[in-house]
Amino acid sequence: MELLEYGFMQRALLASLMVGLVAPAVGVFLVQRRLSLLGDGLGHVALTGVGVGVLTSSAPVGTALVAAVLGAVLIELVRARGRTSGDVALAVLFYGGIAGGVVLLSLAPRGQATNLDAYLFGAITTTTAADVAVFAVISGVVLAVVWLLGRRLYAVSDDEEYARAVGLPVLPLNIVLAALVASTVVLSMRVVGLLLISALMILPSAVAQLVGRSFRSTLYLACGVGVVVSVAGTAGSYYTGTPSGGTIVLLAIALFLVVTAGVALRDATARRRHGRQVEVHAAHPHEHGEGCGHRPVPHGDHVDYDHDGHLHAPHRTGTGTHYDEHDGSAHPPAAVVPPVGRERP
């Protein structure tokens, strides 16, 4: 392939592969915790680190990492101390971060290349061999921590109060997660840019969430989606001449819309089938109950009734008794209102 002949494209594709894998692996915990925009905020904070790096002529990746991790720890401590001013404190930190970065970068000596756009929106083709090495180390560390602590991070993200009650170290785990986010932010800086980082953490998780059944499968799926959109977006940007960051994010959003539509279509089909069966029973007024003549079949938290070769599961709705159809082998959701997007075919 033509694009693999260039060294800069090889490095770009390697970087996008790592980012695509790592960002969703951390992002699923943020989505679970309903803190989707934490990555965005830490991206702002990282810009101050970039500014410091450029000013002191040290590697911006290193200083950005330090700034983002410090910001992450600070945010968790603010959150843990109380909710009264937490929201405002976060805003101050985030906007302080981006303002500090812009001002510091403007102070850089004339001769230095300070391309603000490259940091804000990504400049993947400027990735150096040294950058790739640093990214590989960060990716390895982040994935190792997720592998080691994933269950605990899930527990804390899922139900922080329960985790605290049973004695899991909630604050340290939250700080670990925030540090993982900070590392991912710095890793993604070159590929999608600081302003679009959050998208690569959240969108693959959002896609996977629509079709996953378990948390584990959702996590793997999110990583798969991340790798595909990241590498495809980077390769595509080579041919279209568009910025890699924006291309990747638009690709992820397109995928999200397609999957959302697909799931909605599947649910609508299932509902229509269900609706047809309900009509049959509306013309057939019979309330199942003890001694109604149909064989009762206990099922989960309710009783089904064997009825002309299929099972009826009565439940009350606003308009009277309504029967779910069970085909004997499957277990459709017993909830009165099937949760949208989770109903099984």
């Binding site: 605290r164 998780s205 989960g300």
Partner: protein, 267 residues
């Protein structure tokens, strides 16, 4: 094992510097099954949260399983079923994954679940009657079944003390009966039960002792049968007698209207 499961001595519990439960004395021996009764806003949930380290102990002594509350090591032996009707979480998760969280406190910092842990998870799910749903997403379960998943999560820890907040609220009669069965077996196995509730009916066969909390004070401590007669746990007549508690939210108890303010360290 001679330490009581719960010991409160002159305990004041609240949030920030607002005391909600004041000057409470209570000793629960190992293996007892106790109901904590009271109307909305009486402080019964705060009392249970104090035992779990979720509310602040502002004064006095609160000991759980023989150690002051707040020690992580001790809390690993406590099971907790929160006051929620459903399993939350934005991402899909299976029953096995949610219940598996209950084993984590026993695994230390980096431990991975082994055969023993998987067996405990399967047993806990079996105990709440959802064995055939182990690999199903929790979102596909009904509200009552999701509550039972949360009970299974607490049971999976094989706790010495099980604290439950309103386990029967919003659950249909069949699920309540199933829950009562589970609790009867857990109690028979020697686990101490503390159930916060405002309706003892469904669990009357399991719980033997009752404590009534009214406006932050313990006003009754004795057999369950004697607690239901006069008022506090039946909150309808009671509500007329005092102004309604405004802005009450189930997940975030507010102080009763006459709660006193305490400054930090004033006790």
């Amino acid at each position: 094992m001679t330490d009581p499961a719960i010991r409160l001595a002159g305990a004041t519990i609240g949030y920030g510097d607002v005391a909600i439960v004041r000057d409470a004395d209570l000793t629960v021996r190992r293996g007892e099954a106790v109901a904590v009764l009271g109307s909305n806003g009486s402080g019964k949930t705060t009392l249970s949260r104090g035992l779990l380290g979720l509310a602040t102990v502002l004064g006095g002594t609160v000991e759980v399983l023989g150690a002051p509350v707040g020690r992580l090591r001790e809390r690993g032996r406590v099971g907790y079923v929160p006051q929620r009707h459903t399993v939350s979480g934005a991402m899909p998760a299976t029953v096995r994954e949610v219940v598996g969280v209950g084993r984590l406190p026993r695994l230390g910092l980096f431990g991975r679940p082994g055969a023993r842990d998987r067996a405990a998870v399967a047993e806990a799910v079996e105990a709440v009657g959802l064995a055939d749903r182990l690999a199903d997403p929790v979102a596909a379960l009904s509200g009552g079944q999701q509550r039972r998943v949360l009970v299974a999560r607490a049971l999976a820890a094989e706790p010495e003390l099980l604290v439950m907040d309103e386990p029967t609220a919003g659950v249909d009669a069949a699920s309540q009966a199933a829950l009562a069965d589970v609790l009867a077996r857990v109690s028979a196995a020697g686990t101490t039960l503390l159930v916060v509730t405002h309706e003892t009916g469904p669990l009357a066969g399991v719980l033997t002792r009752a404590v009534v909390v009214d406006s932050g004070r313990l006003t009754y401590d004795g057999p369950l049968a004697g607690a239901g007669t006069a008022g506090p746990d039946c909150h309808h007549p009671d509500e007329a007698a005092r102004p309604p508690v405004r802005g009450y939210r189930l997940d975030q108890p507010r102080p009763a209207p006459d709660a006193v303010r305490l400054r930090h360290g004033s006790r």
